[in-house]
Symmetry: C2
Subunit: 211 residues, 2 copies
């Protein structure tokens, strides 16, 4: 089974120096890639800037911006059997990126942001038989937001976690299937949780292929 | 001699997850701290989030935001004989920080930013006999901007470098003294350049104290 896994944050530049980002460390996505390799899958790992070494045996595609991640995923999607969207893709990017470094003006600044393309939704729209596992990081109306994302991105299941997981070595997640049922909850180190998620995903894909 | 050295980027949060930042790796500031320790100085290192280990023997104060860096520097300033401002402090921060994680609205967003306090200028305004070495990262009108900053921050000298230095292992800098003269240019690995800068700074402080 060939899996496409996204990881890490993206950076959305205002100019050549400043950017919008988030504190995603990439640990969950990299742990998923490691667990998938360990389970015998072939893995394409697309990650924003992180300070981690990609697992031996996976194909690694480092990117910076959400646009670059989108393009890499589009290229790799056709050849994969499943997608895990664990990246914390920036939702917004500056409408314009200035060349060089903007000088201070001595006053405030109004920064015009536009939404970035929803990578997982774009892949979900043409998923065919591929299995798509999304992630939802929610602080309020958690379950409702996760279910909305599950539908909007055409995922087979979604992993619901909280902002506390960002940059942390541990996590506590709820795995929700397409019909809105909680399939499992996992808590522990990210490698442990990743191993459980990959075991579940492997069984799901085997089941789909066996039908 | 007790030196206060700032390093790394800062993060300015929009909400609990997203922030404005820059790609400063902290390498130059940490190299300066190491070179200063090696030269026998006592070092207080105040750094934004980086993936580096502080040099053995220095007092380390990790911070996240420009406000936290400002407060740490204010506290440490009275006890120091010199300041090196190598941090890439964010110039702007969102006017409001939302709790939790803002949900996407389905449309663009106008983000209101305000200037952050100029840490080095605040310290420079009450420098008395302390030696203050600033850094200026400029892409256009480089020398003019560096000289303006040197004056505005009441520095004794300023190190002029370029956006290419950000995150890079090497750098190429011009050292400009209070009278606008280029004192030296240094190029090479950041540890090499840091060693040269600390040697120069040490001689300057010794000269001041000898007067």
């Amino acid at each position: 089974v060939r899996l496409l896994i996204t990881a890490g944050p993206t950076r959305e530049y205002l100019d050549d120096v400043r950017y919008l980002s988030n504190a995603s460390s990439g640990q969950m996505g990299f742990a998923l890639a490691q667990a998938a390799v360990d389970a015998g899958h072939r893995v394409s790992l697309v990650s924003g800037p992180v300070h981690l070494c990609p697992p031996a045996g996976c194909d690694y595609y480092p990117v910076e911006t959400s646009r670059e991640m989108y393009e890499a995923c589009e290229r790799l999607f056709l050849g994969c059997d499943g997608v895990i969207g664990a990246a914390a893709v920036c939702d917004y990017r500056p409408k314009r990126r200035a060349a060089g470094k903007l000088s201070k003006t001595g006053q405030g600044l109004s920064l015009e942001l536009e939404e970035t393309a929803d990578i997982l939704a774009a892949l979900g729209a043409k998923k065919e038989s591929r299995f798509i596992l999304g992630f939802a990081l929610e602080s309020t109306d958690r379950r409702a937001n996760a279910l909305r994302k599950l539908g909007a991105k055409n995922c087979d299941a979604i992993v619901l976690n909280t902002p506390e997981a960002i940059g942390s070595a541990t996590t506590s997640v709820e795995l929700i299937s397409r019909d809105g049922q909680t399939v499992a909850t996992y808590a522990g180190s990210k490698p442990e949780v990743a191993k459980s998620l990959i075991a579940w995903l492997t069984a799901q894909i085997a089941g789909q292929q066996g039908r």
